[in-house]
C-alpha cells in the first residue's frame, strides 16, 4: 500500500493534477513498449525507477 501511495504521490507531483496523473498511469505508453505505467511498475515489484526517466523528461521538457 505504501509503495502504491509513493507511486501516486510521485506521479501527481509530476503532473500537478490527480486526474491527469491517474489517467497517465492507466494509458499505454510507447516508452514502455505499450505497457501502461501502472503495469510496468507492478511487474517490476513497484520499483519507481522504471518510470523516473519518463517523468523526468516530462518535467524538464526533453521532448525531442
Amino acid at each position: 500500500m505504501m509503495r502504491y501511495q509513493a507511486l501516486v504521490s510521485r506521479t501527481v507531483d509530476a503532473f500537478g493534477d490527480e486526474i491527469k496523473a491517474s489517467r497517465w498511469l492507466s494509458l499505454p505508453n510507447r516508452d514502455l513498449s505499450g505497457q501502461t505505467p501502472l503495469q510496468a511498475v507492478q511487474s517490476s515489484g513497484y520499483d519507481l525507477h522504471v518510470l523516473e526517466p519518463i517523468l523526468t523528461r516530462i518535467e524538464h521538457g526533453v521532448d525531442y
Partner: protein
C-alpha cells in the same frame, strides 16, 4: 517531403538577432541547468551531458509535446521559458562564432547530418569545439530547434533566461 529530406538555411540565425528560444518545462525547473536531460537524455544528448531542449518558434515546444501526449495529459505545472542568445557573431559555413569569447552556435542543416554526427560522437563536442548550442531541425515541422549545452564554451556569456517572461501555462 518528409522532415528527413528538408534542409534549412542557417542565415536564419544571423537575421534573428538577438535570438529568442523557447522551452516548455515544469515551472520548478524553469532554469538553465540542463540537469533533467543529463539524467534522462533525449534524441540529441547522452546520459551525463547537461542539455536544454528548445525551439526557435514559441508554439513548437507545445507541439512537440502534443505529438506524443494527449492534450488532457499535458501537466498543469508547466512554464514556457524564453531564453535569449546574443553575441558579436562571425558567420561560418556551419556555425556562428563570437571570436572574442570563442562561443560557437553550430548548425546541422538536415536531420541526416545531425544523426550522422550524433552516431559518431556527442553533439556537445561537435568539431572538437564544444559549442554552447547546436541547431537541429524539428522532426515534426520545418523549424529550427536548438539544444543548449551549459558546459559548452562561453555558454553563460551568450545565453540568458528572462525570468520576467517565463509564463505559466495550463
Amino acid at each position: 517531403m518528409t522532415p528527413e529530406d528538408l534542409e534549412l538555411d542557417p542565415s536564419f540565425f544571423l537575421s534573428h538577432q538577438p535570438l529568442t528560444l523557447y522551452r516548455l518545462a515544469r515551472a520548478r525547473y524553469a532554469n538553465l541547468s540542463g540537469i533533467g536531460a543529463a539524467m534522462a537524455p533525449g534524441r540529441w544528448n547522452r546520459r551525463g551531458e547537461e542539455a536544454i531542449y528548445t525551439s526557435t518558434e514559441m508554439g513548437v515546444p507545445i507541439l512537440e509535446r502534443l505529438v506524443h501526449t494527449p492534450r488532457e495529459l499535458i501537466p498543469s505545472n508547466l512554464a514556457l521559458m524564453k531564453i535569449g542568445v546574443s553575441g558579436n557573431w562571425e558567420s561560418h559555413k556551419n556555425a556562428i562564432i563570437d571570436p572574442k569569447t570563442g562561443g560557437c552556435f553550430w548548425f546541422y542543416r538536415s536531420l541526416a547530418e545531425a544523426k550522422d554526427a550524433f552516431r559518431n560522437g556527442p553533439l556537445m563536442f561537435t568539431a572538437g569545439i564544444r559549442p554552447f548550442a547546436v541547431a537541429v531541425l524539428s522532426v515534426i515541422v520545418p523549424v529550427w530547434n536548438a539544444v543548449l549545452f551549459p558546459q559548452g564554451i562561453a555558454f553563460w556569456e551568450h545565453v540568458s533566461l528572462d525570468t520576467s517572461l517565463t509564463t505559466n501555462i495550463e
